[in-house]
């Protein structure tokens, strides 16, 4: 077995474990926060940090799983570039909706957290899948791009300006995300 395939299987397994942990974490909360309304159909408010953690575990799990499948070369020859943007956009939309359900609602409930977890899992997998389609098919199908791998090796360089732009975007996102961590002196 090639190293890439082996690391892909490890990645996919790690993704399954992470997503499974998120699932277990989410459903282990059960009606614990408000047992008196369990089974009555009344939504129970869930701590925002729990819902957010489950969402991120689902997101990381879905992304890792798909990256693992890609790296393990499972069904790689069937991937075509068409629709990559659409798949990626759908993934990002689902991710945004999941984030809304688990983190942005004024009072996340168990139901919204479960929906957020599922959307995070699916959204991240779709987003990575779309990016894989886009990158794999820059010159047509994956098999074609793999065949032309040798010719294009020397074309890829590390332009500092491109890395800087990507770093600024990611740095801004990280700063905004850090703004969700609060310290209270009240």
């Amino acid at each position: 077995m090639k190293d890439a395939s082996r690391s892909g299987i490890v990645l996919a397994f790690a993704g399954t474990v992470v997503a499974g942990l998120g699932f277990l974490f989410l459903f282990s909360q059960g009606p614990g926060a408000c047992p008196s309304v369990a089974g009555t159909g009344v939504n129970c408010v869930m701590p925002r940090s729990f819902a957010t953690l489950a969402y991120y575990l689902g997101t990381a799990g879905g992304a890792l799983l798909l990256m693992g499948i890609w790296q393990a070369r499972i069904g790689r020859k069937r991937i075509v570039t068409e629709g990559g943007w659409l798949v990626s956009s759908m993934g990002m939309t689902l991710l945004a909706l999941g984030f809304f359900g688990s983190s942005l609602l004024p009072f996340p409930t168990t139901t919204s957290a479960e929906i957020g977890y599922a959307l995070g899992l699916l959204g991240s997998a779709l987003m990575i899948g779309g990016m894989v389609k886009m990158s794999a098919g820059e010159r047509g199908s994956v098999s074609e791009s793999l065949a032309g791998e040798r010719q294009s090796r020397l074309k890829i360089q590390a332009p500092a300006a491109r890395v800087l732009v990507i770093s600024i975007c990611l740095g801004l996102i990280a700063t905004i995300v850090s703004g969700w961590l609060g310290v209270s002196t009240l």
Partner: protein
């Protein structure tokens, strides 16, 4: 606990957003944009270092990360994500504040 007043501070490593209270009255969100930029420098430097080192290691082969980083579409997607996260965060602040007052 701060007698009479206090607040909640957001941001890491430096707090660039806060909401203060005095005798039970909330004064709304305050944003410290210079500190926000300082925090951004911190994260940008960390990401730049990581990415550049990674890129140097992967640039000799046509791996998936190298192609993703080298694509203009990646930059477009990241730019869109930055705008969405930024505006979403501001929208959340306003809805949170509205909820707090409501």
């Amino acid at each position: 606990m701060t007698p009479g007043g206090g607040g909640v501070y957001w941001g890491f490593p430096l707090s660039w957003k806060s909401i203060s209270a005095w005798l039970g009255y909330y004064n709304g969100f305050q944003y410290n944009w210079p500190v926000f930029i300082l925090d951004s420098f911190f994260y940008t430097a960390a990401v730049f270092f990581f990415l550049y080192i990674s890129w140097l290691n992967i640039s000799l082969s046509k791996t998936l990360p190298a192609r993703l980083l080298g694509s203009n579409k990646t930059i477009a997607l990241l730019g869109m994500m930055t705008i969405v996260v930024f505006t979403g965060s501001l929208a959340y602040d306003y809805s949170y504040l509205w909820n707090l007052w409501g």
